[in-house]
């Protein structure tokens, strides 16, 4: 086990903190410790750092600093966007539209709103994971107040036609939000160019610390206050301002955007090399998602006739980190809702694995993982009754009622 090579291919889950961002954050943990809302010099030093960070983030996104609200991350931003609009605009209507492949933060929030009496339409996707603009327009009714479609999907990396969707929303007077958590730092993201009213982002996906994110809210859009409390975030989200994390978010975003072109190209090259080798060297594998319209860091495969968790844990024993769309790793019986929405067979969805590359990965990492995968897939297939018959239908199978 000693000196075992370790390869991290789970950057869509989280990334390591940028060393540069960490060093920018350090003074704000102990030296500059004032409460940014205090009037004395201790507080004002902290307030200056927050203002400066907010201004920098706004500038990078091409928006006004007054349109930036700091949150604890992407989940909070998504919760705030949909619930905040639903509650604030409920006199205008009670209908919400989201895609079926949203992150759990959006899906669970929508479910919660359904229990409050809101109506939710879940837009399906095609086999590549793309939402259809026509279907979106057809789903809009007189009572539609809010719609949300993610900029890029976290499991398969499919990039959604946000400009087209936001234009339709605008035409019908529907507030449009996009969850850009996976996209920021990977592809250029400018809310005004996308035409969205609201946008969520999360720091730790682009080498900022965990626990900090942003909800962009276009001037004129007024969601309900999210956290009752003091005057922080223009009284919309109470709670003492988290100065070091905000400084870290700003520093990491600046770094990510300045390196974006170079990193994305490098990451895409490694991903493509990896994908080609997997598809050429391992039989019975499907590449899930859109082959072209896709985040550069994402590769998602279904290894047929075996189950994802077994692959994931075997890779882990070899020092390799990735993520699985199988039900077994999530604790539910249903495999990935994203793959099922794309029409992937449930059995194949259970055998899906997501690899997400980052700026520190190399071609050698990719090769090491392909070599490991070949052995692991072969080993698990030798154990699989499905591989023996190359079919998901087995003769003499007694259906087992799951007992949970």
């Amino acid at each position: 086990m000693e000196n075992k090579r370790r390869v991290y291919l789970d950057h869509s889950a989280t990334t390591p903190l940028s060393v540069n961002a960490l060093s920018k954050m350090m003074p704000y943990f102990s030296n500059v410790y004032g409460n940014a809302n205090s009037q004395h010099s201790f507080g004002q030093e902290a307030a200056v750092a927050v203002d400066e960070s907010r201004r920098e983030i706004a500038e990078i996104l091409g928006v006004s600093p007054a349109e930036i609200y700091f949150t604890s991350g992407g989940t909070e931003a998504d919760n705030w966007a949909v619930k905040g609009i639903a509650h604030a605009y409920k006199n205008k209507g009670n209908h919400i539209i989201i895609s079926a492949i949203e992150h759990a933060a959006m899906l669970s929030s929508a479910k919660q709103l359904e229990s409050e009496g809101f109506k939710v339409t879940y837009l399906g996707v095609d086999k590549f994971g793309r939402v259809s603009a026509d279907e979106f327009e057809k789903a809009i009714t007189d009572s539609t107040i809010f719609a949300s479609v993610m900029l890029a999907n976290n499991e398969v990396g499919t990039i959604e036609p946000i400009k087209e969707l936001s234009a339709i929303a605008k035409k019908h007077g529907v507030i449009f939000h996009t969850d850009a958590v996976q996209a920021v730092g990977s592809i250029p993201v400018k809310p005004k160019e996308l035409g969205v009213d609201m946008l969520s982002l999360s720091g730790h996906k682009f080498y900022a610390p965990k626990g900090i994110g942003v909800l962009y809210v276009r001037t004129g859009i007024k969601p309900e206050r999210f956290v009752a409390g003091g005057h922080q975030e223009r009284s919309m989200r109470g709670g003492t301002t988290n100065v070091p994390l905000i400084v870290g978010l700003s520093a990491a975003l600046k770094e990510a955007v300045s390196e974006l072109e170079e990193n994305s190209k490098k990451i895409k090259d490694i991903r493509d090399h990896f994908k080609e080798r997997v598809l050429n060297e391992i039989p019975f594998v499907n590449y899930n998602g859109d082959p072209n319209n896709r985040l550069p860091q994402n590769a998602n495969f279904s290894f047929k006739f075996i189950e994802g968790e077994g692959i994931l844990l075997n890779l882990d024993l070899m020092g390799i980190a990735c993520s699985s769309g199988s039900a077994c790793s999530s604790g539910s019986l249903e495999p990935s809702h994203v793959l099922l929405s794309m029409g992937v067979d449930a059995g194949e969805a259970h055998g899906s694995i997501r690899f997400s590359f980052g700026k520190h990965n190399t071609i050698e990492d990719a090769d090491y993982v392909v070599d490991a995968l070949k052995q692991i897939v072969e080993k698990l297939r030798k154990m699989s009754p499905l591989y023996a018959s190359k079919s998901y239908e087995l003769k003499g199978l007694k259906n087992h009622e799951e007992k949970h």
Binding site: F305, I306, E307, E309, G310, L313, N314, L317, S326, A327, C328, S329, G331, L333, P335, A346, G347, H350, K382, M383, S384, P385, L386, Y387, A388, Y392, E393, L394, G396, L397, K398, N399, H400, E402, K403, H404
Partner: protein, 125 residues
Amino acid sequence: MYNEKVIKEFSNPHNVGELENANGVGTVGNASCGDIMKIFMRINENEVIEDVSFQTFGCAAAIATSSVATTMIKGKTVEEALKITNKQVVEELGGLPAQKIHCSVLAEEAIKEAINDYLKNYKKV
């Protein structure tokens, strides 16, 4: 999430593969639920399970329970094997996460199915 024993059984499972001359085969599970277990047995004239093997499509817990359950019944009589419960399989593994308990149920059912197959189709009366 898994204890060391489970990881050990999962990474180096015993009794893997198809058994030649099996006279009792039980398959349970469902591909869309993510686990299928197939147990092969060779039962002799004294109703002792001489040899046993498995093929499993499923998560680490499903593979580990298959390995342990087959090891537990090897050399046992049919009567003894029928008495093995999923709880004993879980105990043998030193515990399983709550959402994985159904894997041990699957193992118990696969054993029963294989024995039923033997009793129905192979046992010489």
